[in-house]
């Protein structure tokens, strides 16, 4: 285990098991046209933030130190994940991925490469997709983090989860949480008018109803699937954005619940 466990997560508010969905948040209008590929922007922000982090950590530590001495080299941080806020103390270089997996028991996000190259760790931060292995946990205070575990409403799957299930968008399942989080963000990006590298006409906003297969592929090209369940993944996104997947896509007659 990379790190020590030294704090208890806060108890969730009993009446708010599913607090506000972060990805349903009204986006900041300034961000709307800020970047052609928002996740790339996020990744760059993360890299920049990594350099700035020690300053952040010092100020945070200074506030905390009087009240409650922290383990040496650690800082207090409050993370809001899937609608629940948890207080943790962390070494400031701990990535969001390690904090999720090792400290909060949220192992749905996977460590495929730990270098921001495979996409298996993709989560949503304020509704935008982020490689959680490329960003530090201490930078995520005051942000709403959604992981694969937070997409469903109780027993009801998120439409993107249901679409992956119905269109067989996986084999081994290891990349699936990242694929689904990326696909949820994709939908949001299209609705906000974000263009991609293959958007044919930059003067016209893309629309979910007419989003081409090529657009879907391009917008998911940051997530690897070694089993190559890619046809199912494209079909799942098509279903979730209200398109009709091509006839070759499969209709299940039964889902086996393990």
């Amino acid at each position: 285990m990379p790190d020590k466990t030294s704090s208890q997560p806060d108890q969730p508010e009993p009446n708010q098991p599913n607090a506000k969905k972060p990805n349903a948040k009204k986006p900041n209008s300034k961000k709307l046209n800020a970047s052609r590929r928002n996740f790339l922007g996020q990744a760059l922000t993360a890299a920049g933030g990594a350099i700035a982090a020690p300053t952040l950590f010092k100020s945070a530590q200074a506030q905390e130190v009087a009240a409650n001495p922290l383990p040496e080299g650690e800082v207090a941080v409050q993370l809001t994940v899937n609608g629940q806020t948890q207080s943790l103390t962390l070494e400031p270089r701990v990535t969001l991925l390690d904090a999720l997996r090792e400290r909060m028991g949220l192992t749905g996000s996977k460590k495929g490469c730990d270098h921001g190259q495979c996409g298996a760790c993709t989560v949503l931060v304020d509704g935008q997709r982020v490689y959680s292995c490329l960003t530090l946990a201490v930078m995520q205070e005051d942000k709403a983090i959604t992981t694969i575990e937070g997409l469903a409403q109780g027993e009801t799957l998120h439409p993107m989860q249901a679409a992956f299930l119905q269109q067989d968008g996986f084999q081994c399942g290891y990349c699936t949480p990242g694929q689904i989080c990326a696909a949820v963000a994709l939908l949001d990006e299209v609705q906000r008018g974000c263009a991609s590298a293959v958007t044919p006409d930059l003067t016209t906003s893309p629309a979910t109803a007419t989003l081409s297969e090529a657009e879907i592929r391009e917008r998911l090209s940051g997530n690897l699937c070694r089993c190559s369940a890619y046809n199912g993944i494209v079909a799942a996104v098509q279903q979730a954005i209200g398109q009709t997947p091509p006839p070759a896509a499969v209709v299940l007659d039964q889902v086996i619940h393990a």
């Binding site: 997409l151 592929r217 090209s221 089993c227 190559s228 619940h257």
Partner: protein, 797 residues
């Protein structure tokens, strides 16, 4: 059967709740381990000092060879694979010691403090170097049919040449992972991401110096395997087990991606050197081939990989005179291992290269030469070079259907039209066949077991010896059990694969998972049915004289014929209104003291192999497929676009078309990755320079052709296999040869039709860089009169 049922873990996968080895809830006091990596491909270890590591807070222990309680070796076939090297480092990255610490971070910091001194030795890094220095793991293997030498001498035409192909990293998204939990009484529970729990159990026991019954190995599921967890999981489970034994605490290991790519073996790179004799019509009359596999530093599974390459050198073609010799090069690289296809693809690439050369030499279309050489008829012309007759030859069927579905001829004309009007982009279409032998080459592996446990509420636990790595084996096994018992899937809980439930299992490999385990599951279900039948008869008030007697059958067979197990009830065939629920029968069985658990067992019949003569019937049957691929190559950059793929593949009577379609698509794309983009690069010191997804390119969603049609051959039930199905894991991998051949065709199209080259030596993988270099070489050859042609063509007459 034949239901498109989703994966049994589907809901777990889409909600992130499916638990893999390293997703389990950590245990109190769990330790992590981290390797001390050797920065040489070949070196003598002159000093190893661990003292400084102990200054790191959280370090518990540094493990070295002195800590191995049993045998310091993890070799699978022979014991030549030292776990902690004591005097010599044999490949770059080899772990010479492991730090055990409270956290992974502490283990990593401590590992960096271990001081090791080396005396570098010259490494052998290529097959060519190994040949030059005669560095081989084993003696040469030979398979021979007819009289190839004299047939070559009398052949109308003859070609010699060589073809080399690179290996392939498995790049399973889940890296190698193991957890080992000691119980304090000398027993070890190992959770491992392994395709072969039994072998992991045996080797952990060997390394710990205890008997196998003290070790239980469980595989929950894998985030991909592809052969890379058949043997490669073992060393890491072993190190964790040693740490658990010494500390008495649970230990976990999950390799980081760089270590995984550096430390674990890959698909074998191969070199093939050939001489082929053929007629002016393109019929192959003689073939003589030397195959060299890059085995890496230890033997691992190289002998059966090489053997599979040798018995697939024919692919779908009848070659009357053939000799193939095989050698395993010993190089200072990670030990190459199983990978989907297991040598088959490497053998088949050689013959497809040869066929293409024959076609271009004779100015015939490659598909025509392929078709002319197919196995056909019966007897000699339908018998392989190792003496096995192809009992159910479906090559022509898949070939014709694939051409028809793809509208091959029409598109070929349209492509010629396109090429005549486009100078800088050229297209080509190619079709290649696949014939792949199904069964483990090693006969003893062709057995499987299952364990069925029924509880008094009618719920069922199903165990079998196969592991789930995403291929849908568990789903298929549930379907087999539900169908055989006539009950609904919701009754079942599929249990993780564990050596304390089903012992002495084979690796889930060789595409055999469903064939072997399916029959074992069916056997267990039938045992239970035979026990339940008399109880059901009593509950249905069926008297013995009411049961129709079938000539020659036992009364038990008569009873099972009379009872219908379906839809969670058991009813009488003669008196359909008499029926009883499955639960009621189960409850009564318990009251009557009838056992409600049963094992199942299966061994594949009619297999034979004589390694001395290279003859026998090593395969229970063959799987067939054909793929049509169309590419467009850009002459300025060498990039290609895969425009359209049409596949016809034979999976028999599919157990689950949804899963099988996924296997065909996934196998094809993985094969395309191997042949066109996945480039392993070692530098001249033997350091792998492509050790991350940033430098090692696997296919992404953007490389999938927009038109990608997979058609499962219809009316294709396979007798003697579980519910008429056929193996599907590996055969589709080789369908991707059509992409390589299409690229070759497009390269040829850059020359004017009258000046098309008669040989296009395309490297493998055919990366854009390689394509561009091939194009440039061909253009240089065409423009100068001095033709540099190491590939000699001899006209005998």
């Amino acid at each position: 059967m034949n239901h498109r049922r989703s994966h049994e873990s589907a809901v777990g996968h889409v909600t992130g709740k499916a638990i893999y080895t390293d997703e389990q809830r950590p245990l109190l006091g769990m330790l992590s381990i981290y390797p001390v990596i050797a920065p040489h491909a070949h070196a003598r270890i002159t000093r190893l000092d661990t003292a400084a590591a102990y200054e790191v807070p959280g370090l518990v222990r540094v493990l070295t060879a002195a800590d191995v309680p049993g045998v310091n070796d993890t070799g699978a076939i022979v014991q030549d694979e030292v776990l902690f090297p004591t005097d010599t480092v044999s490949y770059w990255g080899q772990a010479v010691a492991w730090a055990v610490a409270e956290t992974e971070t502490a283990a990593r910091l401590a590992a960096a403090k271990v001081q090791v001194e080396y005396e570098p030795l010259p490494p052998i890094l290529t097959i060519q170097d190994a040949i030059a220095t005669q560095n081989f793991h084993t003696s040469p293997q030979v398979i021979r049919r007819g009289a190839p030498q004299s047939a070559l001498e009398t052949a109308e035409l003859r070609l010699t040449g060589e073809v080399e192909m690179n290996g392939q990293d498995h790049f399973y998204l889940e890296t190698q992972a193991s957890w080992v939990i000691p119980d304090g009484e000398g027993h070890y529970q190992v959770y491992s991401s392994t395709q072969h729990p039994t072998e992991t159990q045996l080797i952990v026991a060997r390394v710990l110096g205890i008997t196998s019954n003290q070790v239980t190995v469980t595989c929950l599921r894998m985030g991909g395997g592809f052969g890379g967890k058949e043997t490669q999981a073992n060393p890491f489970a072993c190190v964790a087990a040693i740490a658990a034994q010494i500390t008495g605490r649970p230990v976990r290991v999950k390799l980081n991606r760089q270590h995984d790519m550096m430390l674990t073996g890959k698909r074998h790179g191969f070199l093939g050197q050939y001489q082929v004799g053929f007629t002016r019509q393109g019929l192959i009359t003689a073939l003589d081939v030397d195959l060299y596999a890059d085995g890496g530093w230890s033997l691992d599974l190289s002998p059966p990989v090489l053997m599979r390459a040798m018995v697939h050198i024919d692919n779908a073609y009848y070659i009357p005179n053939l000799e193939v010799r095989g050698q395993i090069a010993r190089t200072h690289k990670a030990s190459n291992t199983a990978f989907r296809g297991f040598g088959g693809p490497q053998g088949m690439i050689v013959i497809e290269e040869i066929i293409d050369r024959i076609a271009r030499t004779l100015k015939l279309s490659p598909e025509l030469v392929r078709e002319r050489n197919f196995y056909h008829g019966s007897g000699e012309t339908n018998t392989t070079h190792y003496g096995q007759e192809i009992a159910d030859n479906r090559i022509q069927r898949v070939w014709q259907e694939a051409q028809m579905n793809a509208q091959f001829l029409e598109r070929k004309l349209a492509i010629a039209q396109f090429n005549s009007t486009h100078a800088y982009q050229k297209r080509a279409i190619a079709i290649t066949p696949v014939k792949f032998g199904i069964s483990f080459n090693k006969i003893q592996y062709n057995q499987a077991g299952a364990l069925l446990l029924i509880y008094t509420d009618g719920s069922i636990q199903l165990n079998h010896g196969g592991t789930e790595m995403g291929q849908g084996l568990h789903t298929k096994m549930l379907q087999v059990a539900a169908r055989t018992l006539g009950v609904s899937l919701s009754r079942f809980r599929m249990m993780p694969t564990s050596t304390d439930k089903v012992p002495n299992t084979s690796a889930t490999a060789a595409s055999s998972g469903s064939d072997l385990n399916g029959q074992a599951v069916k056997d267990a279900c039938e045992t239970i049915k035979a026990r339940l039948a008399p109880i059901a008869a009593q509950l249905l008030l069926l008297l013995p004289d009411e049961i129709p007697q079938i000539n020659g059958k036992s009364s038990e067979a008569d009873l099972l014929q009379e009872l219908i197990f379906a839809e969670d009830t058991i009813r009488s065939r003669t008196y359909p209104d008499r029926q009883v629920s499955f639960e009621a029968v189960v409850k009564q069985a318990y009251c009557d003291r009838i056992s409600l658990s049963a094992t199942g067992y299966y061994r594949t019949p009619n297999l034979s192999w004589n390694p001395e003569t290279g003859k026998g019937n090593p395969f229970y049957y063959f799987a067939y497929g054909a793929a049509v691929s169309e590419v467009e190559v850009d002459g300025f950059t060498g990039t290609f676009k895969l425009r359209q793929v049409d596949i016809v593949h034979d999976v028999g009577e599919s157990l689950n078309p949804l899963i099988d379609q996924g296997q065909v698509e996934g196998g094809f794309v993985q094969g395309m990755g191997w042949l066109t983009m996945e480039e392993l690069v070692w530098d001249n010191q033997g350091r792998l320079r492509t050790d991350a997804p940033s430098t090692y390119k696997i296919p992404t969603i953007s490389e999938i052709p927009e038109h990608f049609q997979v058609h499962l051959l219809e009316r294709a039930s396979q007798p003697g296999v579980i519910y008429g199905s056929k193996a599907v894991g590996e055969p589709p991998f080789m369908l991707a040869m059509s992409v390589r051949e299409a690229i070759r065709g497009a390269i040829a199209a850059f020359s004017p039709p009258s000046l098309e080259p008669d040989h296009i030596p395309l490297p493998s993988p055919a990366t854009p860089e390689a394509i561009l270099m091939t194009l440039e070489a061909l253009q240089q050859n065409a423009s100068s009169e001095v033709l540099v042609k190491p590939w000699l063509i001899i006209e005998n007459r």
